[in-house]
């Protein structure tokens, strides 16, 4: 009766994603530590930004305190590694701790919308920063955590791989980041994801579709916190240190900027944004210390000139071309 929508580009998108993933795993074979470190950072910021954008671009809730979960993951993982827990256990517990924090904070935050939600997340994020900064006996205060060892992956009696070298740890980090990104992708494309888009578009109407919105928001807030926590957990062994600045609100601003530049209403937007953010930083920092100023200008140009970010802008053009083509050859 009704023709299925023509989903142009789906196979092209799949091919593109496959190439990128393959590329990411080939990196250590052909490129040196500088590039490994750079790409690891892009992956971490991508995962962090995507978790943030699940709330922001997908659901319409702008969180200004997302670093709280990133920092929780980083600190808990760092402390456990310093206490000689294994890497996998440390990362898992670090991520879980961020998830628990997200359930608690989410309980308060999802009761509010728009600017009240943003202010509440900002306030709670600052509280976490204050705790990190002042609770010296646990967090190391100003100094943070130092001397973190990456440890190894082992199954007793079967095998053991040390992850002390960067290229080994790179594989571990890349695999988990990509897994996280893939799960987030599935969530965005699931029925649940469509409901989130509905909340973004018309909060009130979703309730009249029979959906208890607060429950859905609570779950979303939890997922967003959990994956931000995973990114933070993977960061600690990469850097081998955790500084209190990871809990600062400027860290919360990074996913905001990455999402805005890349395109908050598309899944891939924050990844492209993370690439642009870190790429620009690497490039500009060679010429001037004021790289944030340059970045600010880029952000302004994108927001004013490319509504919907880089990916959103490209998508709009492709969709319009397809629509015109359909009109001429229905």
């Amino acid at each position: 009766m009704i023709p299925a929508p023509r989903n142009h580009g789906n196979s092209a998108q799949g091919l593109g994603a496959g190439l990128v993933v393959t590329g990411i795993f080939i990196v250590p074979l052909v490129l040196g530590p500088f590039w490994q470190y750079l790409i690891a950072n892009i992956l971490l910021l991508s995962l962090f930004s995507l978790s943030f954008n699940l709330l922001f671009g997908m659901t319409g809730y702008l969180s200004f305190g997302h670093a709280a979960f990133y920092a929780t993951g980083a600190y808990v993982t760092g402390m456990l590694l310093l206490a000689d827990f294994s890497l996998i256990v440390s990362v898992a517990l670090g991520t879980a701790a961020a998830g628990v924090l997200a359930v608690i904070l989410g309980f308060f935050c999802v009761r509010h919308t728009k600017v009240y939600f943003s202010l509440l997340t900002l306030a709670l994020g600052m509280m976490i920063h204050a705790i990190v900064w002042k609770w010296t006996s646990v967090t190391g205060g100003d100094d943070g955590l130092v001397g973190i060892m990456r440890g190894s992956i082992k199954i007793p009696g079967v095998f053991e791989i040390s992850l002390n070298s960067l290229s080994h740890y790179y594989y571990f980090l890349a695999a988990l980041c990509l897994l996280g990104i893939y799960i987030l992708y599935r969530i965005v494309k699931s029925p649940f994801g469509l409901v989130l888009n509905g909340l973004r578009e018309n909060y009130g109407r979703v309730e009249f579709a029979g959906i208890p919105i607060r429950q859905y928001l609570q779950v979303t807030f939890f997922i967003a916190g959990l994956f931000a926590g995973l990114a933070g957990s993977l960061m600690a062994p990469l850097e081998k240190t955790v500084a209190p600045s990871v809990a600062h609100w400027t860290k919360s601003a990074e996913p905001v900027m990455a999402s805005l530049i890349g395109g908050p209403f598309t899944f891939a937007g924050p990844i492209v944004g993370a690439l642009a953010f870190i790429g620009l930083k690497e490039l500009v920092v060679r010429f001037t210390d004021y790289w944030l100023m340059v970045f600010g200008i880029v952000l302004m140009v994108v927001v004013l000139g490319f509504r919907g970010g880089i990916v959103g802008f490209i998508n709009d053009h492709l969709r319009e071309r397809r629509r015109l083509a359909l009109r001429e050859h229905p």
Partner: protein, 499 residues
């Protein structure tokens, strides 16, 4: 008993919107709620569906007390609703819009991992609903791009998709043309006859109400005035007085009085304009003229470009090509506020008054912004044309009814010293009595020398007010001439207006 309401009361800001209303509705009924604008009909729906909580009173649905349940729980119990003002997901496709309530119904919305396209049953069900309401060819369009009437259809599709046992439709036919109404009404009838749905209808189209309803509840000023069968209601003298009034045809005598407008010089000249939304072209080389003192109607089906023409003139959606002149001076390309200051008053569909300002402040706003010495209109003069506004001086915009908002929006445009009023669907969503009242008011405004350009689905209304008409079709002018002449040309009316 399907629905039982006891002593329902709701107060806003000391103003009693719904006052001690109680009634029962047995299973298998189509109940219509009618009443003048501002009678509390929409507030009653909001109380029944959980958007508002009552100050007093209880609501029982199949003998279960649902007064304290959240809106989503009531939907799950089987109370579905549509909204009077379109309330859809504008940047999702039509299909995605309907998918959300269907997923909610099937429980699929809780699935976080499976790809949406894997839900074949959901998809088929959505397709079926879209087919039922006649939106199947628009499934992949963004809902915000639909014409106004189609958005109303989508609104109803969203309500149907929750599979309600009680479906409450708040003015479903507002903004629909006769063809769309004729498509919708048999379906509503079919739904009721199928016995699976109880319908509650808020509606101003009395033809619809008297044809479909088993029972009618009449509200007036928040209270239940009378309830009964259509015949009882039709013959009730009180209802006649406050709501139905005489037939629209009666006011033709007014029309005779204001015939022969002083055929003045050209006030607005639109020359070959092409207007776009993004990359899609909405107007194709539209030309038209409005002379000083005239009333001109823009007619045509939904989505043919009536609103776009008005928006082009006001500068809200400036044309890409072509020129628009006001008193001979080119105004196309000027920003909207400058065009407004030059004397073009726009009364958008839905009125768009300032919700948090009082009626008085709404009326004063243009005088603060547009500074002029000699104004033709004062608040007192506006209140003379719209006497009800006098009583409402201190009430905030958001507490005004649809009809009151319309008066205020027109009054506000006059206070901006408009020389020409552009009215977008002025009669939409108004009670029969209110339509008559508005017509009389607009005729008085014309007599004050104000020129009028109106876009309306309601041909009767246009006949009463306008001298000439332009009929649009697919973004171009398909016919223009005197409205009188149109009366004889059935084939044109049929072809472009589908009456």
């Amino acid at each position: 008993m399907m629905l039982r309401v006891e002593g329902l009361t709701k107060t806003f800001d000391k103003f009693v919107a719904v006052n001690d209303v109680g009634f029962v509705i047995p299973e298998g009924r189509l109940t219509a709620i009618i009443g003048p604008n501002g009678a509390g009909k929409t507030t009653l729906v909001n109380l029944l569906t959980g958007r508002l909580t009552p100050d007093k009173g209880r609501i029982y649905f199949y003998e279960e007390d649902i007064t304290d349940l959240s809106a989503s729980k009531r939907v799950q119990r089987g109370i579905g609703r549509s909204f009077q003002l379109v309330n859809i997901f504008p940047r999702l496709t039509v299909r995605e819009n309907v998918t959300i309530p269907v997923l909610s119904r099937t429980g699929g919305s809780r699935d976080l991992i499976r790809h949406l396209s894997g839900f074949k049953d959901v998809r088929n069900h959505v397709d079926h609903i879209l087919y039922e309401v006649g939106l199947e060819t628009s499934a992949e369009l963004l809902a915000g791009q639909l014409s106004h009437g189609d958005q109303h259809l989508l609104e109803i599709a969203l309500a149907l998709a929750t599979e309600p046992t009680l479906l409450i439709l708040d003015e479903p036919t507002a903004g629909m043309n006769p063809k769309e109404r004729q498509r919708l009404l048999p379906q509503l009838e079919k739904l009721v006859k199928s016995g699976s749905v109880n319908l509650m209808l808020i509606e101003h189209d009395m033809d619809v109400v008297f044809a479909l309803a088993d029972r009618i509840i009449v509200l007036e000023q928040g209270s239940l005035l009378v309830e009964g069968t259509p015949v009882e209601i039709q013959n009730n003298p009180k209802v006649q007085e406050i709501y139905l009034g005489g037939d629209l045809e009666d006011s033709r005598s007014h029309r005779q009085a204001q015939q022969n407008p002083s055929a003045g010089e050209k006030l607005v000249e639109v020359e070959n304009i092409d207007t776009f939304y993004g990359m899609s072209q909405a107007l194709h080389s539209v030309s038209m003229e409005v002379n000083r003192g005239e009333a001109v109607a823009l007619l045509g089906r939904n989505g043919v470009g009536k609103t776009t023409t008005l928006r082009s003139i006001t500068g809200l959606t400036p044309p890409k090509r072509g020129t628009i002149r006001l008193r001979g001076e080119i105004i196309s390309g000027l920003p909207p506020h400058e065009i407004a200051a030059l004397g073009v008053g726009f009364v958008p569909e839905g009125s768009r008054i300032f919700p948090n300002l009082s009626t008085m402040q709404n009326l004063q706003m243009p005088t603060q912004v547009i500074r002029k010495k000699d104004r033709r209109w004062t608040i007192e003069k506006v209140e003379k044309v719209f006497p009800p506004l006098q009583e409402l001086r201190e009430r905030k915009g958001r507490f005004l009814s649809g009809g009151e908002r319309k008066m205020l929006a027109i009054g506000r445009a006059l206070m901006a010293d408009a020389e020409i009023l552009l009215l977008d669907e002025p009669s939409e969503g108004l009670s029969p009595l209110m339509v008559r009242f508005l017509l009389d008011a607009l005729i008085r405004i014309r007599e004050e020398g104000i020129t009028i350009l109106l876009a309306d689905q309601n041909l009767k209304f246009a006949y009463q007010l306008a001298d000439r008409a332009y009929i649009l079709d697919k973004g171009a002018v398909a016919y223009y001439g005197k409205l009188e002449d149109l009366r004889g040309k059935e084939e044109i009316v049929k072809k472009y207006l589908a009456v």
